[in-house]
């Protein structure tokens, strides 16, 4: 059981770190919390069985990294539109073409 908790803990922690790095950083909180819970469970078992704690330490370290990254990004990362230069050019060209096409249109009032 200790092994299972440790593996699940470290797996969710890795997922949390990956999500925290990607634009989906908001989603990192869920696997980070799950990893933390499995980490605690594994830690309690390890204490009982008196086994090594390296993998649990790694889990907690990854959880801290993921949470720090995700929190930083949710507070400081700006939601800015990327380069729209081409879109702006397209808008202008499209309007010019439209005026040409609509040149002879007579609108009904």
């Amino acid at each position: 059981m200790r092994k299972l908790y440790s593996i699940l803990g470290v797996s969710f922690a890795v997922i949390a770190v990956l999500l925290a790095v990607l634009p989906l950083s908001n989603l990192a909180f869920i696997p980070a919390i799950i990893a933390f819970i499995f980490g605690i469970l594994a830690f309690l078992r390890t204490n009982k069985e008196k086994k090594g704690k390296h993998i649990i330490q790694l889990t907690f370290l990854l959880v801290i990294i993921a949470l720090s990254f995700a929190t930083y990004k949710s507070i400081y990362a700006k939601t800015e539109v990327g380069n729209t230069e081409q879109l702006e050019k397209l808008e202008k060209a499209s309007e010019e073409k439209a005026i040409e096409e609509l040149e002879d249109i007579e609108i009904e009032e």
Binding site: L27, V81, N83, L90, E91
Partner: protein, 257 residues
């Protein structure tokens, strides 16, 4: 009897409605959020803009909607969409509609030239194709349309020009919308008035439910909603949508009118 007279009132209102709401020079900015694993993520900016377009013989209103993903998404799924409708400023009747979408490598161009004398639309759909020298595959078609049929952009603006303040709660109105060469009936039902907090302040709004007949694009009952300010501008400030691949919302960020 009451419902029949209301129906006639609505029909006359729609046919004869003169636009007093939509003016040139409006700019509305929205943030689009998409729900992933229960958490909302801001994915794109949508801008709705109006401007005057002068041709030799007339002055038209250009209704333009653009969508662009935020820079953090551009490396994964870049969206640069342009929707335009050139309409009669008084009746918001469209004369030309263009849609040019670039979504994660997928390109599509759609153009409708409306002819009200023959009640036909000259449609052009262009897609990228390696099979043609030009690199594009064009499909031209002439479609017959019913009176009152509009494209999606003109319909959105037409909705704003309606006298919603005269409609009772529960009243609904339908529009025929031409999308991808098919006429689809879209209905808007007034659910009531609601005061909501937005980036442009606390606003009293008309809450409308959107449904599409014979289509499974929009999911859920009253899951697709739009809030228009309950004033003479009827600005769409908030919208919720539920489609097959998930749900999301549009929130107003800034207004210039």
């Amino acid at each position: 009897m009451k419902s029949i007279s209301f129906f006639f009132l609505l029909v006359t209102a729609v046919v004869n409605a003169q636009n007093k709401t939509v003016k040139a020079g409006e700019v509305f900015n929205y943030n689009v959020s998409y729900r992933m694993s229960g958490i909302m993520n801001d994915i794109a900016r949508v801008t709705m803009e109006t401007s005057e377009v002068k041709t030799k013989k007339s002055t038209l209103l250009r209704l333009k909607c653009t969508a662009a993903t935020f820079s953090k998404w551009d490396n994964y799924f870049k969206i640069r969409d342009l929707y335009e409708s050139y309409v009669n400023p008084t009746t918001l009747t469209p004369y030309l509609y263009k849609r040019e979408i670039n979504e994660g490598g997928h390109y599509k161009f759609v153009k409708y030239n409306y002819n009200y004398k023959t009640k036909t639309v000259k449609s052009l759909i262009r897609k990228k194709s390696k099979n043609f020298e030009s690199g594009f595959w064009d499909r031209n078609k002439t479609i017959n349309f019913n009176t009152g049929t509009r494209d999606i952009v003109a319909t959105l603006y037409k909705l704003r020009s309606l006298d919603i303040h005269k409609a009772p709660i529960g009243a609904s109105d339908s529009f025929m919308v031409l999308f991808d060469n098919k006429e689809t009936k879209i209905s808007f039902k007034l659910l009531g008035k609601e005061t909501i907090n937005t980036a442009i302040g606390k606003k009293e709004c008309y809450k409308l439910a959107i449904t599409m007949a014979n289509s499974n694009v929009l999911k859920g009952k009253n899951s697709n909603l739009i809030w228009l300010t309950a004033d003479e501008n009827k600005i769409p400030v908030y919208a919720k949508f539920k489609i097959a691949i998930g749900s999301g919302e549009l929130k107003i960020q800034s207004v210039k009118n």
